[in-house]
């Protein structure tokens, strides 16, 4: 029976050739390692978010009078509602962690260099979209934490003169966080950001396939030095076929991702729900400590310690610009980070600084 189905598809879309080129003969470099799976894990993470998000969408009501109650109903009244909500919450944080690990891997391996600058830019934009997802989704349960964290972050643009107030008002739909804010954040979260993400992800994946996977700089003798002056796809004729070898590694890391997710759901179900996340929003009562989510803490702390707010915002934008355009700043041909002590030091410094700022921002 499968034979006949296979035949039918073969005549129409050439299934055999497709499988051969994309799976069996698609080769990955011999020295590929487990860290190369993070991109795939992040993509699966996104898929989990979409599916659990769709489930939540069926019962969630995006109106300030009903948002909190509808989320509570999902947690307490709808059968297994708690499961999908927990997966969505844990998933949002784990996905950002997976993207972070992917980013670190690419950086350390030097895989952003020519000809892969566009891939890096696509990835940086994807990170930005993911954080926008996290930020817009954070408001939706309409808790004290949601409301006030959103108030703080939407007031950051006001530090920019002339356009700042206007930008903040567009973000909020008014002068304060209200139902108008909830509506537009919901619209973004559910209908604008998903296609944008898919577009960027498609672009990113297309480039990866088109240019070919970059080998790690370790383990093999140094690649021929570029300049890369004409297009040619990087293929690894003596590498391993993607299936089954690397597919197994991809699947292994996906299982690890899910195991971590369910470990959190079982043993630390409230790790992302401090006390303020269980109380409905009250515009007249500011909680004692207002903090954004962990992945924005370092940036927030940086803003707090720079006494001039305008300078603080400009520095943030400048840092983001440097991050986005990094392949144009680092055009050194050497890919092996172990042979580049200055970059190593710079990278370690930036990373440790980010971690310190994040922990500092927690208190």
């Amino acid at each position: 029976m499968w034979e006949r189905l296979n035949n039918w598809l073969e005549v129409r879309i050439g299934v055999d050739d497709l499988i051969r080129s994309q799976v069996s003969e698609y080769r990955v470099p011999k020295n590929i390692n487990i860290f190369y799976t993070f991109g795939f894990v992040a993509a699966v993470g996104y898929l989990i978010q979409v599916l659990s998000g769709i489930m939540l969408l069926i019962y969630y009501v995006p109106h300030p009078d009903h948002a909190f109650r509808s989320v509570q109903d999902i947690m307490l009244k709808v059968p297994y509602g708690w499961l999908f909500r927990q997966m969505h919450v844990m998933g949002s944080n784990l996905m950002i962690a997976a993207i972070g690990l992917h980013m670190l891997t690419v950086f350390v391996m030097g895989n952003y260099k020519r000809p892969r600058e566009l891939t890096w830019i696509g990835g940086a934009l994807l990170l930005f979209v993911t954080i926008a997802f996290g930020f817009s989704g954070y408001l939706l349960p309409w808790t004290q934490l949601s409301y006030w964290a959103t108030t703080v972050v939407t007031s950051i643009p006001t530090a920019v003169p002339v356009v700042g107030d206007f930008v903040a008002r567009i973000l909020r739909g008014g002068d304060q966080v209200t139902g108008a804010t909830l509506s537009r954040f919901f619209a973004f979260h559910v209908s604008i950001l998903p296609p944008l993400f898919l577009l960027l992800a498609g672009f990113h994946l297309f480039l990866v396939k088109r240019i070919g996977i970059s080998a790690t700089p370790f383990g093999l003798p140094a690649e021929e030095k570029r300049p890369w002056t004409e297009y040619h796809k990087k293929s690894h004729v003596d590498g391993y076929p993607y299936y089954p070898r690397f597919f197994q590694m991809d699947m292994l890391m996906v299982m690890v991702y899910l195991a971590v997710m369910f470990f959190l759901i079982t043993f630390l179900p409230n790790i992302f729900f401090p006390a303020d996340a269980t109380i409905p929003a009250d515009p007249f009562k500011t909680p004692v400590s207002v903090r954004p989510e962990w992945y924005l803490l370092a940036q927030y702390q940086l803003l707090k310690i720079i006494p001039n707010k305008f300078l603080g915002v400009i520095i943030q934008l400048a840092l983001f610009a440097v991050f986005l355009l990094w392949p144009f700043f680092d055009t050194e041909k050497e890919k092996n980070i172990m042979k580049r002590p200055m970059l190593r030091v710079l990278f370690l410094f930036a990373f440790i600084l980010w971690v310190i700022l994040m922990f500092w921002g927690r208190s």
Binding site: R245, L258, P269, V290, F328
Partner: protein, 283 residues
């Protein structure tokens, strides 16, 4: 390319130093303040009563009030004493409803402005009658204090307080009558706290508890032991329903944990199997 980007960045960042003095007020009001602050309401009453010019007895009042359960629920000076907390010049005028300090006989109605259920029970009670007849007798402030008012609890009934006017045994009988229900209330309060710690939104349970607890304590103000004993059955029944509700929620939380632990084992197991498969294939 790199130089271009770098120079654009510098061109944008440098003016920000100048923009720091963009507008004097803006700089002072916004740029140097914290990002989000408490909305501090102005209160003329507290401003004057905390100042050095005020006599010591009155000066202590704002601090006393700050420790109270009223303060935690945003009930402040004008809610009881009238007057206008926003405008110091007319804050204590008759026109703004200022009532001043009530005399002993006026206290029950002073507090009864809000606590009307309790006022009704109190006025019909022996304590209320005594106050009306002789001008002496326990009014609200005698048992609950005036500014540092805490949440009611059974320990307010003690020898020191009740023994002031009559023998303590009458009060002891009442305390015994209240004991069972109060104990149950304590157990359920612990249960609700545990619910919150477990991350469950417990407003419904808190409301039901509050409702029952307040009705019971209002009843106490009749100082009628037989009535309290008669109604104890009702209250224990209501509280038992509430207790079962809370136990059910904890049972549900346990079953959820089991389900997600099961899924954890499944995924962990699959990870191990895939790893072994990988090793087998590629030794």
């Amino acid at each position: 390319m790199r130089r271009l980007v770098l120079s654009v960045l510098i061109v944008v960042v440098l003016p920000s130093f100048a923009a720091g003095g963009y507008k004097e007020d803006f700089a002072r009001e916004f740029l140097s303040k914290t990002w989000v602050g408490e909305r501090i309401e102005e209160n003329a009453c507290i401003d004057c009563h905390s100042s050095e010019q005020m006599k010591p007895a009155f000066q202590e009042i704002p601090d006393e009030w700050r420790k109270s359960w009223h303060a935690q629920n945003n009930i402040s000076c004008s809610d009881c004493h009238g007057g206008d907390p926003k405008d110091p010049s007319v804050s204590m005028t008759h026109q703004r409803g200022f009532v001043g300090t009530p005399s002993a006989r006026q206290v029950p109605e002073f507090c009864g402005k809000c606590h009307i259920g309790i006022l009704k029970n109190y006025q019909e009670s022996g304590h209320g009658k005594s106050l009306r007849a002789s001008g002496k007798g326990p009014h609200c402030v005698v048992c609950h204090g005036s500014h540092n008012i805490q949440r009611a609890n059974i320990e307010i009934i003690n020898e020191q307080r009740c023994g002031k006017c009559h023998s303590y045994d009458r009060a002891m009988v009442m305390k015994q009558a209240l004991f069972l229900v109060e104990k149950k209330i304590g157990v359920i309060e612990d249960g609700v706290r545990a619910l919150r710690r477990a991350g469950v939104y417990s407003a419904e349970q808190e409301r039901a508890l509050f409702n029952t607890e307040v009705e019971f304590r209002t009843l106490f103000h009749t100082v009628d032991v037989s009535l309290v004993n008669q109604r104890t059955g009702d209250f224990t029944r209501k509280l038992a329903v509430l207790e079962k509700d809370i136990q059910d929620i904890f049972a549900e939380l346990r079953s959820r944990r089991n389900f997600s632990a099961f899924l954890l084992l499944l995924f962990g197991g699959m990870a191990v199997l895939i790893y072994l498969l990988h090793r087998t294939d590629h030794q």
